[in-house]
Symmetry: D2
Subunit: 244 residues, 4 copies
């Protein structure tokens, strides 16, 4: 599965505003930069591009999506600024077979809400707590080579109730210092596409530099990619033939 075409989308607001200040230290090349670096390390044959909210068409014109096997989505502050036409386009590509990885605060992104139909709300607290990410689907390719638990020393706390449809596959459940639990790794099949949501990762903590997290993301990319499939059009068909 060499030669995967990956697009990393980042809202880029924390980077632009240098807020929080610690971010410049943790992610000098932006969250998208750290994500892209991790993918290039693990998948040296992949071609990885990045795209930002501030880019024309948010960096996601038709030709970019048509040339993307898997799109990663990181957003937080500016979900409301994402153009509906771009959301329409991304949704169409996911339903047609493009893989999508939604990360952390991307749970509130328009594209995730659009594809799931729910509020995608959750409980949260930012207190630099340890997160333990437990595997509940050891047969699943996304868990391959991932320690159980995967320990994240400091992370924002996310908690149930996570208002998503019952996932097609439940991969990871996390616990936090305060005792909360969260379905931190879940997959959804929508149309011809595959979606993986993974909650660890935040602008305040260097989570995307952790090798185990990079392993999860790369596994997720491999799992979500369908490079040999043409992008499918919606199947609306008048049946012109009787089979019996």
């Amino acid at each position: 599965m060499s030669g995967l075409r990956i697009t990393v989308w980042n809202e880029g607001m924390h980077e632009a505003e240098q807020d929080p200040p610690v971010m410049a230290e943790i992610y000098p090349d932006g969250i998208h930069g750290a994500l892209a670096e991790g993918i290039r390390q693990e998948l040296p044959d992949a071609s990885v591009r990045t795209a930002l909210l501030a880019d024309p068409e948010h960096g996601l014109p038709e030709e970019v999506l048509a040339d993307t096997d898997v799109l990663l989505w990181w957003g937080h502050r500016a979900h409301g600024q994402v153009d509906e036409a771009v959301v329409d386009r991304v949704q169409r590509h996911v339903l047609g077979g493009m893989g999508l990885l939604v990360l952390h605060s991307g749970h509130f992104s328009k594209i995730f809400q659009r594809l799931l139909g729910t509020t995608c709300s959750l409980g949260w607290r930012d207190a630099a707590e340890q997160e333990l990410v437990w595997t509940v689907a050891p047969h699943h390719p996304i868990t391959e080579g991932v320690p159980n638990p995967l320990v994240i020393p400091e992370q924002e706390t996310y908690s149930e109730f996570f208002d998503i449809p019952a996932p097609d596959e439940l991969i990871f459940i996390s616990s936090f210092d305060g005792g909360e639990v969260f379905r931190s790794g879940v997959t959804f099949f929508r149309g011809h596409g595959r979606i993986f949501y993974f909650s660890p990762g935040d602008q305040r903590y260097p989570v995307y530099h952790q090798p185990e997290v990079r392993r999860v993301l790369t596994n997720g990319i491999r799992w979500a990619a369908q490079p040999d499939q043409p992008r499918a059009a919606p199947d609306v068909a008048n049946l012109d033939r009787h089979w019996r």
Copy 2:
């Protein structure tokens, strides 16, 4: 479970345009009228109201939805004319716990697409074929007292691929004269709400007068209703307490 509050929504275009002409014979009181009549027969304690696209706010202002345990939705020609603000409102109520029954060509309604995230497309042919509705979840309350198969003498043919997420429960599978199959009864849990899609029923055939179909719909209403639950607000919560 007496006293359920049911709202039957109908687009009303076939009725308004008297197209097809046969409709005036089959559904002299409109599709909504036949649906309401069936519910009143089977659930004499229920209060049943109807609402139409042509009504102010499509007959679905906030106070009507707040007073509705289960909403039935029938539409076909005018999905595009349904106001986005009304779709927002219905979605909010479903996620908050209101039951929703989506019927037949309502698969292409904005509210169904909104809640499922997919195109909800399918294959179709209008050839007055026999539909056989087979039960695949005999333990499920929606199937109680329903013959297996339920025989519909003439009906529009619907066929896979039905572009929906994997349903939370698969209740019925239909076959048609031409050999096609269709997941004709499926449920979805979204937020605090319960959704039941049932495909039989069309403007050309007297399906909604069939007692067995009325039984399915009434079972679906009973199953989707949560009359003792307050309508829940989305759970977005900052966690102010550590539990350990």
Copy 3:
């Protein structure tokens, strides 16, 4: 739903051996006694009987099962002593529509393994840790009136990987002091029957006296009971009729 017929099965070994000694204090009438008492409190119209491993046919002859809407199962030390013929019989009744609640260490019972097909193994540690039981299906009747989280002051720790099939419904996820997580409330549909596994409860801790736990168990009983359904025989049928 008055008049439910409930049978509480307990292995009874901890009681017989008075081991651990604390058990005589916590459960003077046995674990089955405490469970039965809780059910009688919450469901005063129910008829509740108990049955023990030491009884003839383990207290579960055909006529008892035929007269049971929901069976509760608690076992720990003597899973291997349960007669295969009794397991066959219970399985047949569950597949025919009898509800089954499997409790705590009953995860390793023959009947649970038989119905699920997996080892049902898990991780564990007995260290009197606090268990927090979080709701992940707020729409589900089993969660009605249950605090979120439900706090159990001291409990044996159970941990993933819990080797069960993906449950039909995931209701509760627990966390423990050590940071472990566990799918502590899960349902399965098998044949015509409904199964609810709930992990809290142990011979060392007074969990079954907790009102919130009794609420969960009673909700589970109501959910699993199908008192109006005749016990179904397996459907093996030679199709003698063409439908078209």
Copy 4:
């Protein structure tokens, strides 16, 4: 994924008894022979062995299973003659990660019932009817390159209710001349293993010579195989470490 190790198990009773007589014409090398031939054609790098009920330990001693990535199972008349110890062993390997394809009348095999926990009963009629196998999961690798519908000119009719747990993935639904429907392609995850049940194929019809059917089976083998994973032991663990 070259070098897969495949074992095709066949009961071999129809072959031994030359009953029905047509079988000698259709399957001169036995059903296992035709299955093995199809796999060798499509997966030239695979090593394919066959095993029969009449072989010592039914041809499935520990060393054969330890050397098998995917096991195919065809049985019909002699399910009761399969030794429980062999069933135990196959179950252990499946839960440990070995792939399993259960074919046609194998729905009533001990190993399928053991892994699923239900009766696995269904309706049937042997009337040489056309079967149409429709894809309901176009994103799934098992459907790759498979025509929709896959047409089987003559086949035994299988019908719902198929008494299996809700499958983890529903891949194919079939219809038959008489109007019946059947979930003809379903997958289950159990322990670390992957199971695919595919119903077409019978001793009376040359189904296993059809290229499209061979494609489905080969896709199923590729999907079920986890050649790089060591066979996992059941995870029963005393937790000796606190993570926080």
